[in-house]
Symmetry: C2
C-alpha cells in the first residue's frame, strides 16, 4: 500500500514535470516560428498603407475588413464570416482652425473630435476663453462663456511613469470639456492634444456629448502653445473654426470573425481580437492595426505549427472601438442571443511595443491559474500577469461571465502616436510586434491545453 | 526591561519604515525631476550632431570630451579633470568594396573593421570564398584559402529573445574570422554585418588580430545577400576592396572625470560612466552617447535636488571602449597607482531604451543589499536586479575589488543600430532615456544612503 502510494505520488510528479516540459517546448516552438515570421508585420504594412483613417462607416474600414477576410481565407480558417449589425455613424470630412493675431490669419494644426457637429458652412468665428480645466470653466459660469469658444489648455502631467496615466491626467478636458462648454453656452470648444510630445500632430478622440453638441477639435500641442501665447498678448483675438462632418442615423457594418475549429469542444470559443477601425486622421498602426495582425497571427501560428486546439480559436476584428463601441456590444449581443459560449477573451489594444504583461479581469480561481503561467512566459518578456482591465471591445462580454484578458506593452512611446497622423507603420518594430503575437499565442495555447 | 525591549523593537521598526518612506520620497522626487528634464536629451542631440564618429584619436572625440567638460563645469561639479594616458590608436580614413558581376562593377555597402590595415593604394582585387563560419573555413584549409578574399556570411539567429544573444550567435565571424583567414593565407576578409535588420547599413566593430593582419570590412546585410547571390551565379567573380587607415603607435588621450564631493567620505568614489567614443561610421546615439548623458544626468539630479551625498559621486566619460579598451584600463591603473578607492562602479552601455534592470558583478553580501532595492525601483520599470556582467570600461576595476553594476535596457532595437550609421539621435526616445537617468540616480542614492 505504502509502496503503491509512493508510485502514485511519483507518477503525479512525473506527469506534472512532463506537462511543464511539454509546455516549454511548445512555447519555444511558437517563438522560434514567430521571431522569423514577417507575415503579421507585412499585413500591417498593407493595412496602414491602403486603409488609413478606417473609421466606422468609411470605405477604408470596409477595405480593411475585406483585406483581413481574404487573409483568413487564404490562411485556411475553418469559418470566416461577417457579423453584421446596425449602428449610427459619424463621418469626418474636414477640419480647419485658424486665429487672427496681429492682423494675420495663422493656421492652427487641428482635427475635429468625434462626433463633433459641423460648423455653419462658412465656419464660426468667436472670441476665446482659455481655461486649465473643467473646474475653472464652471467657476467662470455662463455669463463669461456664452457665445465664446472655450480652449482647454491644461498640459498632461509627464511625471507619471506609465503613459496611460499621463493620458488620464488630461483626458477629462477632451471627454467632458466640450459637453460642459456647450451646457454653459459656448459656441465651440478646442482642447490641447492629449499626448506626450510637443509637436504639430493633433490627437483626436471621442468626446462625450449629452443633448447639446457644439463643434470641437483638438489642437496640436504646438498650436495650443501658439494660441495661448497669442491670447497672452491680446485677449480679444478671434479664432475661426470650420468642421465638416456628417451624422448617419443608421448604417450596417460588421465585425469580422474567423474560427479555427476545436477538435474536442468546438462550441467553446477562445476569443482573440483587436479593433480594425482607426481615427480618420491616422494610419492606425499601433492603434490598433497591430492588435489586429497580432490576433490574426495567433491563428497562423496554430495552423503552421499544427497545434491541435481542443476548443475553437476565434479571431475577431472588432469594428468601431473608437467612436461608439458598437462592434464590441454587437458581438456580446449576438452571443447572448444565440447562446454562444466564449470560454475566454483576449484583446490586444495597447500598441505593438515590447511585451509587458497580461492584465486579467476574471474570478480569483481563474486568475490564479492564469498567473501560474507567468513563469513560462517570463523568458519572452512577460513581466507580470496581474488583475486589471482587459479591452474595450471584449468588455461587454463581462456580463456574460467571460474571463477577460488584455495584452499590455511598454507604454513609453504609445501616447506619442495615439489618435494622430504620427501613428504610422514605421513606428512599428518587427521584433516587438512578433513577441506580442508569440505571447498571445502561447497564452491561448496554455489556456486551451490546461483549461480553467 | 521587557517594556524597554518592546520600545526598542518598536523604534527599530519605526526607523526602518521611515527609511523606506524616505527612500520612496527621494526616488519619487528624482523621477519627478527627470521626467520633465530635457537636459540629457539635448546634450545628446549636440553630441550626435557635432561629434559623430568620435573614435579614439579623432578630432570628434576631442570635441566630445571638451563639450562634456564644459557641461560639467557649467553644472558646478566640484572637480573636473582630464585623466591623461598613452595608447596606440587606429584611424579610419575610408573604405570601399565592390564586385564585378556580369560585366558591371557593383558597389557593396561596407565599412572597415577596426583595426583593419590599409589595402595597397590601388586597392586589392581577389576571388572570393563564401563560408558560413570558422569551422567551414578551417576545413577548407590553406590550399583553398591562399590568395583569396574570405567572405563570412552566416546570418544571425533571430530566434533569441534577447538581441545580445542574437549578436553573439554570429559575432565569432567578426571577431575571429579575419585572424583565422589571415593565418590561412587569405588576402582579405569580409563579414556579413552582425545586426537584426536586413538593410544597407554596415555594422563595423573590432576584430581580434594576432601577428598577421589583413584588410577586412563588414558588408551591410543587403550587400552580403547581393554578393552571395552573385557567387551562386558565378563562383569566379572578383571583389575589389579599398581601405585607407592609419596606425598610430602612441597618442595621448583622456578619460573625462567630474566629481561631486561627498560630505562624509569624500575619498570614496561612487563611479558612474559611459564611453564617449563611437565608431567612425556612427553618430553613436545609443552606443554610447546616451550612457554618457545619462551618467552626467546623475550629477545634475543630485545638484538640482540638493541630495547630499556622503561619498563623492564620480562621473567618468571613458575614452576608447570600442577599439582597445584603453580608457577603462587606464582608469583602473591610475586608481591602483594612486590608491584611489572606488566604492562601486556603474556603467551604462546597453542603449537608451526602456529600463530593464541592473546586472551585478559583486560578492553575495553586496549583491543581496543591491537586490533588496528592486522593490523600490520596480515602479520605475526595473524588472530585475540580478547577477551578471557590468560594463567593458569598469571591468578592469574588478581586480581592485570594486563592486560592479551594469544598467540594462530592453534590447529589441539595439542591434538594429549598433556600430552603424543607423545609430542616430532620432532613434532615442526622451522618456526612455529619462527613465534610465532616473534609475541610475536612484540606485546611486540608495547605495550612498545605506552603504554596503
Amino acid at each position: 500500500m505504502r509502496f503503491s502510494l509512493l508510485i502514485g505520488v511519483f507518477l503525479v510528479l512525473i506527469n506534472s514535470l512532463l506537462a511543464q516540459t511539454q509546455d516549454e517546448l511548445v512555447i519555444k516552438e511558437i517563438f522560434d516560428n514567430v521571431l522569423e515570421s514577417q507575415v503579421a508585420y507585412e499585413n500591417l504594412r498593407i493595412l496602414c498603407d491602403k486603409a488609413p483613417g478606417r473609421l466606422l462607416g468609411t470605405e477604408e474600414a470596409a477595405w480593411a475588413v475585406d483585406f483581413m477576410k481574404a487573409y483568413f481565407e487564404e490562411l485556411g480558417a475553418d469559418t470566416v464570416f461577417l457579423q453584421a449589425f446596425s449602428t449610427p455613424a459619424w463621418i469626418h470630412h474636414s477640419s480647419r482652425v485658424s486665429m487672427m493675431a496681429e492682423g494675420e490669419e495663422i493656421e492652427l494644426s487641428a482635427d475635429a473630435l468625434g462626433p463633433s457637429p459641423s460648423t455653419p458652412t462658412n465656419g464660426l468665428k468667436a472670441h476665446v476663453i482659455e481655461v486649465q480645466g473643467l473646474e475653472e470653466l464652471k467657476e467662470l459660469g455662463e455669463d463669461a462663456v456664452m457665445g465664446k469658444l472655450v480652449f482647454f489648455n491644461r498640459a498632461v502631467d509627464l511625471k507619471h511613469v506609465n503613459t496611460f496615466r499621463v493620458y488620464t491626467s488630461a483626458i477629462d478636458q477632451r471627454y467632458h470639456g466640450p459637453r460642459v462648454a456647450a451646457e454653459l453656452g459656448a459656441v465651440g470648444a478646442l482642447i490641447r492634444s492629449v499626448g506626450t510630445r510637443v509637436d504639430d500632430y493633433p490627437h483626436t478622440g471621442s468626446t462625450g456629448f449629452k443633448e447639446k453638441r457644439i463643434p470641437c477639435a483638438a489642437l496640436s500641442t504646438i498650436a495650443a502653445n501658439q494660441l495661448s501665447e497669442a491670447l497672452k498678448k491680446n485677449q480679444s483675438i478671434e479664432v475661426s473654426m470650420f468642421i465638416d462632418s456628417e451624422d448617419l442615423e443608421k448604417i450596417t457594418t460588421y465585425n469580422l470573425i474567423a474560427d479555427l475549429k476545436g477538435y474536442e469542444k468546438p462550441d467553446e470559443y477562445l476569443v482573440v481580437g483587436g479593433h480594425i477601425d482607426a481615427w480618420f486622421n491616422s494610419p492606425g498602426a499601433h492603434d490598433d492595426g497591430v492588435g489586429c495582425v497580432q490576433s490574426a497571427d495567433v491563428m497562423r501560428i496554430f495552423k503552421e505549427l499544427q497545434l491541435k486546439n481542443k476548443r475553437s480559436i476565434r479571431i475577431i476584428m472588432f469594428m468601431d472601438e473608437e467612436l461608439f463601441q458598437s462592434g464590441g456590444n454587437a458581438y456580446a449581443d449576438y452571443c447572448e442571443a444565440n447562446g454562444i459560449v466564449n470560454y475566454c477573451a483576449l484583446e490586444a489594444d495597447a500598441g505593438g511595443f515590447t511585451p509587458e504583461g497580461f492584465s486579467i479581469d476574471a474570478p480569483d480561481s481563474i486568475f490564479q491559474i492564469l498567473q501560474s503561467y507567468h513563469e513560462l512566459l517570463e523568458p519572452y518578456n512577460i513581466r507580470y500577469i496581474k488583475k486589471g482591465g482587459s479591452g474595450v471591445d471584449i468588455y461587454p462580454l463581462k456580463k456574460l461571465g467571460v474571463p477577460l484578458m488584455g495584452y499590455r506593452t511598454d507604454s513609453q512611446r504609445y501616447m506619442d502616436v495615439h489618435h494622430s497622423a504620427y501613428d504610422t507603420f514605421d513606428k512599428i518594430h518587427i521584433r516587438e510586434l512578433q513577441l506580442g503575437s508569440g505571447n498571445m499565442a502561447a497564452l491561448i495555447y496554455l489556456i486551451d491545453e490546461h483549461g480553467f
